[in-house]
Amino acid sequence: MLIESKPLLNQKAKLNSEPIITLQDVSVAYRVPKERIGTFKEYAIRTLQRKVQFNKFLALKDVSLTINRGEVFGIIGNNGAGKSTMLKVISRVLRPTQGRVLLYGKIAPLLELGAGFHPELTGRENVYLNGALLGYDQNAMDAVFEEIVEFSELREFIDAPLRTYSSGMYARLGFAVATAHVPEILIVDEILSVGDEAFQRKCNERMQSYQEQGSTVLIVSHGLAKIQDMCNRVLWLDHGQVQLIGDPAEVIEAYRRSNQ
């Protein structure tokens, strides 16, 4: 099902080589104090003694790349390679220490399922709260509310408090809210392994229909097979640096070889 539609996507990506995300020499440096300083007194004393020392840890090093409108772009790499940091820089959570990030479209991050939900509030109330967290207003949420209930298959439970939901129901509602609007840029961080198989298929179908409508999708995953299936291009990050960007099969092959 996924593979069938790929030629169409490739075609579209070629037609539409308009950049939507640009990273210019982006570096992110976390300052890790050599010792933990948590009180004023200690901090004051050490500042006076010039003893506050930091280890600079570069999570991303001079990353430059351009992602085009309509692409499905995968990011792979070992743990600690900087994948999550990269998503944070793109989704405006972190401002890069150096370099520049330019976005030419609105971002819709897939909130990790249930983040921002409140257990005491009903499903209905949480839909609006979660939508607001994603930056939508009341009208925008009214417009998609029915659709969210439909998609998540939670009509009977929508007015029950969320603490009565199972984790699968949480996940369904979370996904339904986050993808209720056709996003310009959709960010997916290791998320598709939740819910039962039928629901997973539904998620995949929805993401695919968004691609077809021109959304750009960014996926971070350890599931290489899935990445290869879905993506037009793949980036391999290693220790914060770009190792390879290009055709999914080639990049994944190179990555696999390096890990042997």
């Binding site: 308009e18 950049p19 976390y30 300052r31 948590g38 009180t39 004023f40 901090y43 944070k88 820089v89 989704s91 405006r92 959570v93 972190l94 401002r95 890069p96 370099g99 520049r100 990030v101 330019l102 976005l103 030419y104 479209g105 609105k106 971002i107 991050p109 909130l111 990790e112 983040a115 921002g116 409140h118 005491e120 509030l121 109330e125 609006y128 709260l129 607001a132 967290l133 994603l134 930056g135 939508y136 207003d137 009341q138 408090p161």
Partner: protein
């Protein structure tokens, strides 16, 4: 290709974070409403009396205080009204600033995942406290009726008093929450500070018992002036004179500006720290 010239987001463009933040907050005003709603609704969801607790709470404290202290402060006329008019202001400040501080620490996990205006948790915390303050005006009026205290027309000055205190509380709350991110100990320290601060402010005792030599300390205490803004129109039945008003106004505007500037100037670091 026309969109290319104007990016939706440019990480390099951040000339005035304090002003950008105001725009972002305006854009996220629906979230602000939702967060205030969540805090009020969720807190009382399982209790039978629900939001009524917001009104019963200061009433209960007032009853205890009256029971304990009314003999001691016999000189104070209609002591319950005296207490309550100060207590609602103090509670607003204490709850609001505390919630602003813990709200940012709590919201930290969300701010690691999605972009949100950094001030939103501070502002919504003060917003929640403000709703509670407005609700607690009801028991104040009830107590005034029961104790047959005259309700003066000066009561209508109250919105201005509330506005002044809100500005001060928001500025202070933002300052505090910025500090609490860099130094987690601040959160614990603040609880002790609050208690000392309350006893250094005439909330439960009358101003007259303050020894003259300590009045200078009281005069530099912003909450002393804030409480005056509540007591004068509600309890004494007079409009604050300019002499009473200007310290409160200066503290309110000054703290709001300082807190906002300090908080927003550091806001890029929070996601690195929380």
């Amino acid at each position: 290709m026309n969109t290319i010239t104007k990016p939706v987001y440019d990480s390099a463009a951040n000339a005035s974070p304090a002003l950008t933040e105001i725009q972002e907050l305006k854009h996220y005003r629906y979230l602000l409403k939702q967060l205030v709603r969540r805090d009020i609704v969720a807190r009382y969801k399982r209790s039978v009396l629900g939001v009524a607790w917001t009104m019963l709470n200061p009433l209960g404290t007032m009853l205890i205080m009256t029971f304990v202290f009314s003999n001691l402060f016999k000189s104070v006329q209609s002591y319950p009204v005296y207490i309550l008019s100060g207590l609602i202001a103090w509670n607003f400040f204490a709850q609001g600033t505390n919630a602003a501080m813990s709200g940012l620490v709590w919201g930290g996990s969300l701010m690691q995942r999605i972009y949100l205006p950094r001030t939103i948790f501070g502002v919504s915390a003060i917003g929640t406290a403000l709703v509670n303050l407005l609700l607690s005006v009801v028991p104040l009026l009830v107590v005034m009726l029961i104790t047959q205290t005259t309700i003066h027309l000066t009561f209508l000055f109250l919105p201005i008093s509330i506005l002044l205190l809100t500005g001060f509380a928001l500025g202070f709350g933002l300052l505090l929450s910025a500090l609490a991110i860099f130094f987690p100990d601040v959160a614990e320290m603040y609880q002790i500070l609050l208690m000392a601060w309350m006893y250094l402010t005439p909330v439960i005792y009358p101003e007259e018992i303050i020894p003259a030599q300590f009045m200078t300390i009281y005069r530099i205490n912003p909450m002393y002036w804030m409480l005056k803004m509540f007591r004068l129109p509600v309890y004494e039945g007079v409009i604050p004179t300019f002499q009473d008003l200007w310290p409160a106004l200066a503290w309110s505007v000054g703290m709001l500006i300082v807190g906002w500037l300090f908080f927003t100037s550091r806001s890029d670091e929070y996601a690195y720290r929380v």
